[in-house]
Amino acid sequence: MSPIDLHVNGRTRSVDLTEDTPLLWALRDGLDLTGTKYGCGIGLCGVCTVWVGGRATRACLAPIGGLGDVEIVTIEGLSESGDHPVQRAWIEADVAQCGYCQPGQILTVAALLESDPDPSVGAIEAALSGILCRCGTYGRIRRAVGRAVELYGLDDDSS
């Protein structure tokens, strides 16, 4: 079994795992990137969300065998110092209770804003209804998304 290369957060790193290993476990155990969380293993809770080739993807369902050529971004790689507009909005809005689902929520919203910087309520719901929060932060998430849209727009304007 030969090591598999993965391009994660701008670096190429190698893991000594079988091809069928889901990206989730390659990240968490192979690379000690524990920001991506395990919640259900069957793609229904979304806390394992990462970006694969720029798209929000359930890492628990993505075997690493097919991922050698794509860019993978985890919550750790979303920004240099936690200052992505979605992260800033999240911190401002004081969203989290236990916080376990929040990396998946943040990456989902960030992916949405990349393609749709001013999403409709329906688009937000379609994206976020796939990420479970057990603690009940959906109301705060909604406020944070609104603020993220503002900050994202400001960032765009100033860049």
């Binding site: 990137l33 004081d94 376990y100 909604r142």
Partner: protein
């Protein structure tokens, strides 16, 4: 060692015997008299022999250590002015890593922005360390104020010594000591190392609450940035040198046993190292920590452990509960309700006579399912048993209990066992049953390595410690004027006590009657009866424990009586509680459970506050609205639910909850608990309930066990009622009134009375 839910605030543990005394010896008698926590205030924070340590995340997330001086067990001040305050109680999303350090910081008199929080290891010097019963702020309020005040007094004394002035000429102002006559100032950072050497005052002055600068202000969670960047460390994120992972195949039915297993295929999976039999154990008769029979597959990484476990061939003898089922539970409970009660817990007046003369009599039966906790972070724990010691890390609500049980099971003295709680991805009571922690230690010992036992989502649902199923029968009588004059309530559950400690007790009902037997209705005739029926499930504490089922039954039934009387439900409740003085309900139970204070004034206060906020006296918003009340250990809550109903189904549009929990430490945190409890209440009504068949839960992942999703959540309006009562909890109190408020609203909208939860699938708009 008393296992189970945390001791009430006036229970105090004695100081640890193993602590080394410094020259500043402090009378043990004095320490015990003022509360065991004073010991921790005296001694500098000396890490015991074993340093489990809080730096257990991946290497990148460990912050570099800067030079700093401990002032006492709770406060450490760095040369750069950074103030490290210990959070003594585990964080499960209830906000205590923020609120408890706020208490210390207030009395210490430092800027909140200069504070860093360190999670306490498990040690008696920190006082109460159990995240249970919504007791954290109530139990830690006074000790933490004194910890902060003592540290402040030591800093003042250090300055006074340095300046050679009397202490009472000095004051503090946000991180500095000031000599008032001359205006000289010294920063705490400069004084810290001297402060630790000052004699410790017995009674440091506490701030007048009217001068609080921090307590009562809204503060964001201290870990917000760490959470948003993925660097917050949860149990499943713990990393240690040489850490292996394990998945355990457990007997699927309670009380069964392992017959045989074949591990050849498992051992052939790449990454799998070894396979071990795990024998069942009930440490010190504590079922809360009991480990099921199992087979552990130990591997280099989690995926290999799961695959290895899948490849095991295991034969179980499923034992006496192999044919347990929802149908059988309900029929057993029904039979018990038909028969005479095991216990009559409260019998005021003459209920039979009052019912006989009542103008209106009404009865109802309510059926509630077992509830799993479904924490977002699956169960897990990390343990390293080696030589004569054990270090353990993970998400746990009751670390002192775990430490005691580990010591017992491993046959080690407690000081050789270190338990370091880390942030928990949800608790809700599941992480009080510490079976998963004991199991991890057994696997580590068998594997002779540090091991993280990871439970899959399926494991976490199947081997949850469920909220008991419940059956309630209530009967009430109204007089001519529609006033309630009699109430009988039969509670049928499995005794939670039976699932905490494996021994006969005088009061098996002790944890099962709150929210029913102890409410100060002021009714002249009340009887509460109890029957316990064993079920083939492991049970445990679930957010608000007995209140989670009792309040649903009581608040629904009171609404039914109100409608039978033709009286507005709010007016009915206000009339029921009346205007009298505070009452004490006495039950034949020990401690605070046996004497429950009830304040009609505070009950009316939350009802009137929520009604006002909801515009109850005006016209309805939506199709229906309902109101319900609950009191949980001195925290009073009332909820109004507004629903709308179309041919697509029921939607819960708005939940308003008024909460009076005494002095509010962090109003932002309280609002979060109200919001979370509201959504739990919606899920309870629309989705939640585990069905049992062939001795086991039938839903093992979120495909079959539905959760509330973004978009289906109502608008939540938290209303914090001002109070200067001593702080009581907020994690559980805002939950119990929510489900009945919703079903009362459903009745208001449709005339349909929901007496069984969850509502049938498809009832909710947009539900799967």
């Amino acid at each position: 060692m008393v296992p189970g839910p945390a001791p009430r605030r006036h229970d105090r543990r004695k100081p640890a015997g193993d602590v080394h005394w410094s020259r500043r010896a402090f009378l043990e008698a004095g320490a015990a008299a003022t509360g065991g926590l004073v010991v921790s205030v005296v001694f500098p924070r000396c890490r015991g022999e074993l340093e489990a340590g809080a730096d257990v995340g991946p290497a990148d997330s460990r912050a570099p250590r800067r030079p700093s001086s401990p002032i006492n067990a709770f406060v450490e001040i760095g040369e750069d002015g950074a103030v490290t305050i210990v959070a003594p109680i585990p964080e499960i999303g209830q906000g205590v890593r923020t609120s408890l350090p706020m208490i210390v910081a207030e009395e210490l008199d430092v800027a909140w922005g200069s504070v860093r929080v360190r999670q306490a290891e498990t040690d008696e010097r920190y006082g109460p360390q159990s995240a249970a019963g919504s007791d954290s702020v109530a139990d830690a309020w006074e000790p933490l104020r004194r910890a902060g005040a003592t540290a402040r007094a030591l800093l003042v004394a250090a300055a006074a010594t340095r300046w050679d002035v009397p202490v009472d000429e000095c004051a503090t102002e946000v991180g500095e000591v000031i000599h008032q006559p001359t205006g000289r100032r010294l920063a705490y950072a400069v004084l810290a190392s001297d402060a630790a050497r000052q004699p410790v005052p017995m009674e440091p002055p506490l701030k007048d609450p009217s001068t609080f600068r921090l307590i009562g202000t809204r503060r964001a969670d201290v870990d917000g940035a760490a959470i948003a960047t993925g660097s917050a460390v949860y149990g499943i994120d713990v990393r240690r040198p040489g850490l292996l992972r394990a998945a355990v195949a457990r007997c699927p039915v309670v009380g069964g046993s392992l017959v045989r297993y074949d591990d050849a295929a498992a051992l052939a999976i790449p990454g799998v190292r070894s396979v071990h039999r795990i024998d069942p154990v009930v440490p010190r008769d504590v079922i809360y920590g009991a480990v099921r029979p199992g087979v552990a597959v130990v591997a280099d990484h989690t995926w290999a452990a799961f695959r290895g476990r899948d490849a095991l061939e295991v034969t179980w003898d499923e034992g006496r509960w192999a044919d347990e089922s929802t149908r059988r539970i309900e029929s057993d409970f029904g039979r018990a309700a038909d028969a005479a009660p095991d216990i009559v817990l409260r019998d005021v007046g003459d209920v039979a006579a009052a019912l006989d003369r009542a103008v209106t009599r009404h009865r109802a039966e309510y059926v509630l399912p077992p509830l799993p906790h479904a924490c977002m972070e699956p169960m897990n724990f990390t343990a390293h048993v080696h030589g004569d010691r054990c270090e353990a890390w993970g998400p746990v609500q009751n670390p002192p209990l775990l430490r005691a049980l580990l010591a017992a099971v491993l046959e080690l003295p407690p000081e050789r066992v270190a338990v370091q709680p880390v942030r928990s991805g949800g608790g809700f009571g599941r992480r009080l049953s510490v079976d998963y922690g004991v199991e991890a230690a057994l696997v580590s010992r068998a594997a002779a390595a540090p091991v993280q036992v990871v439970w899959s989502r399926e494991d976490s649902l199947r081997f949850d410690t469920f909220r008991t199923p419940a059956l309630h029968r209530l009967e009430g009588g109204l007089d001519q004027a529609g006033r309630p004059i009699a109430l009988v309530h039969r509670i049928v559950v499995d005794s939670l006590q039976r699932h905490i400690v494996d021994r006969a007790v005088e009061h098996p009902e002790v944890y099962d009657v709150q929210g029913a037997a102890d409410v100060g209705y002021g009714l002249p005739n009340v009887r509460v009866e109890y029957s316990a029926v064993p079920v083939g499930l492991r049970l445990g504490s679930w957010r608000s424990v007995a209140h989670s089922y009792n309040v649903f039954a009581v608040a629904s039934f009171l609404d039914e009586l109100a409608h039978a009387a033709g009286v507005d439900p709010l007016a009915f409740l206000l009339g029921l509680f009346g205007h009298g003085d505070d009452r004490t309900v006495e039950l034949p139970l020990s401690g605070w459970r046996g004497r429950v204070e009830f304040s009609p004034r505070r009950a009316r206060g939350v009802l009137e506050a929520v009604a006002r906020a909801a515009g109850w006296s005006g016209s309805r918003r939506g199709d229906g609205r309902g109101i319900a009340f609950a009191v949980y250990k001195g925290s009073y809550a009332a909820t109004v639910a507004e629903v709308s109903v179309t041919e697509d189904g029921l939607a819960v549009d708005r939940i308003l909850t008024a909460l009076d929990c005494g002095i509010a430490i962090n109003p932002a945190g309280l609002e979060k608990q109200i919001e979370g409890a509201a959504l739990d209440g919606v899920a309870t009504v629309l989705h939640w309930g585990m069905s049992i068949d062939r001795g086991r839960p039938t839903a093992t992942n979120f495909d079959a066990y539905p959760m509330l999703r973004f978009g289906a959540d109502p608008h939540v309006v938290p209303i914090l009622v001002d109070s200067d009562a001593l702080p009581t909890g907020s994690g559980e109190p805002p939950y119990p009134a929510v489900p009945p408020a919703i079903t009362n609203a459903l009745f208001d909208a449709t005339g349909h009375r929901a007496r069984r939860l969850p509502l049938p699938t498809g009832t909710a708009r947009g539900s799967a």
